[in-house]
Symmetry: C2
Subunit: 349 residues, 2 copies
């Protein structure tokens, strides 16, 4: 056997949600937004000739728009190719001690994968029996803290005083709050930035902003954190954000009314759909996201997952300890959720 095979990095590859290629299915498995981005993006007429030029490596137009949008300075904003890129860069930049980085045992499945990839020691902290984070678990000595709020795939939102307690107990660690779903929940940890220079808040355009297809994520933190991330990013790939991402991502920030209306629609759908689920014998923690994480009182999740798929409805099932009887169901349009309700009704009869 050729010697080079010994030195290939072996990883446990992450399995993304299925992206089925048929078009006649209902796709509620990857937390995409059922509504397109604001129609203002159709006003953009990109000059195709400009594609010959490198994009601005500092992503200036997008960084400045995000800074204005959130009322922070431009040197507090880092952008990347989806929040996965932003989070991976943050792991690489901040988690370099020999102490274990802490995150929940049930959480975004990429955290342990990045930790393995970058050889970062880590220790999972178990959620309690009702899938809540136990804040005291994050008070011990550590090399960093990261969790989503709302958490994934539970959808549970913890209020700001919970986050603040963790920040106060970790003055020597960078604490990353991954707010992929925050727009469907409550107050953002951004308001804690003024008092906590160890806080990094990560966001994405893929959920509430209806732009999963563009791959835009960002982080907001104190300028020292952002500078360090940019140094690492430039040393890895200087030109990560392509021209369409910069132009369309900037444009979509202009239409706040549309953005808010989409969020309201999804929350309204989530609430009635949740009530219907309860009537059908499901239970689930209160969702602060664009999905519901539900279990049925009698029928196994795996069975429901397979049956729904058979029926052309894709939802998400995780074959993992503690959550292997749960389904993560993305909130789609009213029509899509009605069809899923109809299917459950029929199947569970």
């Amino acid at each position: 056997m050729a010697g080079w095979k010994d030195y290939i990095r072996r990883v446990e590859p992450y399995t993304p949600g299925e992206q089925p290629k048929q078009s006649n299915i209902i796709k509620l498995n990857t937390n995409e937004n059922p509504y397109g981005p604001s129609p203002v993006v159709c006003q953009v007429r990109e000059n195709m000739d400009d594609l010959r030029l490198y994009p601005d490596p500092s992503a200036g137009m997008l960084v400045e728009s995000l800074a204005r949008y959130h009322g922070v300075d431009a040197d507090q904003v880092f952008v990347g190719v989806g929040s996965d890129d932003v989070l991976a860069m943050a792991f690489l930049t901040f988690f370099n001690s020999d102490k274990a980085v802490l995150f929940p045992d049930i959480s975004y499945s990429f955290y342990p994968v990045w930790a393995e990839l970058f050889r970062i020691p880590y220790e999972k902290q178990p959620l309690d029996a009702s899938f809540r984070l136990v804040k005291e678990d994050y008070y011990k000595e550590n090399g960093g803290v990261v969790f989503p709020n709302p958490n994934a795939p539970t959808g549970i939102y913890e209020p700001l005083d919970f986050i603040e307690d963790i920040l106060q107990h970790n003055p020597d660690s960078v604490v990353i709050i991954d707010e992929a779903y925050i727009d469907f929940a409550g107050e953002s940890a951004l308001s804690l930035l003024a008092d906590h220079d160890n806080l990094l808040v990560v966001r994405t355009f893929s959920k509430s902003r209806s732009m999963a297809g563009l791959r835009i994520g960002y982080a907001i933190g104190n300028p020292e954190l952002i500078l360090a991330m940019n140094d690492v990013k430039y040393s890895y790939n200087s030109y990560t954000m392509n021209r369409p991402s910069l132009i369309l991502g900037t444009k979509v920030l202009e239409d706040e009314a549309y953005f808010q209306s989409v969020i309201r629609k999804i929350i309204t759908t989530r609430e009635w759909f949740g009530n219907r689920l309860k009537e059908l014998g499901f239970t689930f923690p209160e969702s602060g996201s664009n999905f519901i994480f539900a279990t049925h009182k009698t029928v196994p999740a795996r069975e429901l997952f397979d049956a729904a798929k058979e029926h052309g409805i894709y939802i998400r099932y995780f074959d993992q300890p503690r959550i292997d009887n749960y389904l993560r169901i993305t909130i789609g349009t009213d029509e899509e959720m009605q069809r899923l309700v109809d299917f459950f009704e029929e199947y569970l009869k």
Copy 2:
């Protein structure tokens, strides 16, 4: 001082070529193509509503188009966010031994940066006095070999038997040939793939394909290498290529005639511009790229660089040992090169 500051990764950030924001300058500093991509890309009417959906994580349409274009199988093609992303993934995937990875002392400046970032041992091999690679330097035991062909920033192309000698002496290492500029040079190492399962050839859409603004790079190698890279990529960021990149990148491959005509135009311009440079007292190695790496017999490169910039013409200067009296001049349009010639003529009078 807060403890988290101790654990920030400190890197020597890569300095990309200046991307000046004024529009009335002549930009010959980052090896962009002076001509836009094929007009066929203007036929693309993307459905903005689809931006709400994640792109295909396997980048299927682009991978299959590239496979057809190069006459290889789809499982031999890896795509990424520019060749920087592809190369960084290759470093991370293949360079995991304790032996030093070998690359030239004068070469693409990202190689040592990635090696430092991923803690990969490396050893630079000096080019000879005429800036040629010395193939015997790559026969010693190593943890991998990587160099551009044509080399950057010298522009020198080494013929295939040179590459083959290095491959034959390295059956136990992955050998990466970075062919960013190959379309302006000669035969590609792709023809060596059939006999060498340790060869990875890396390409980009940023130079000959006039699409630096989209960020598309790719690698071709044996399926085992490509699978390993994909495993690492999926464990890092599953959805790296956004929808515009997939759609426009695929479309541009359709127009071979335009692509070849652009390459011919640039080579024609390079040849007459080179002759004019010689008449002006410059010398340079024969270029197999879309730039010329030149030094003047009497006037220091730094001085010429500053004077040209003052005059609104951006070229590239590297303040580095051995090459600090050289200028890297991208081949632009005939008009742009004529204006640079006029400037040199006037300045050197």
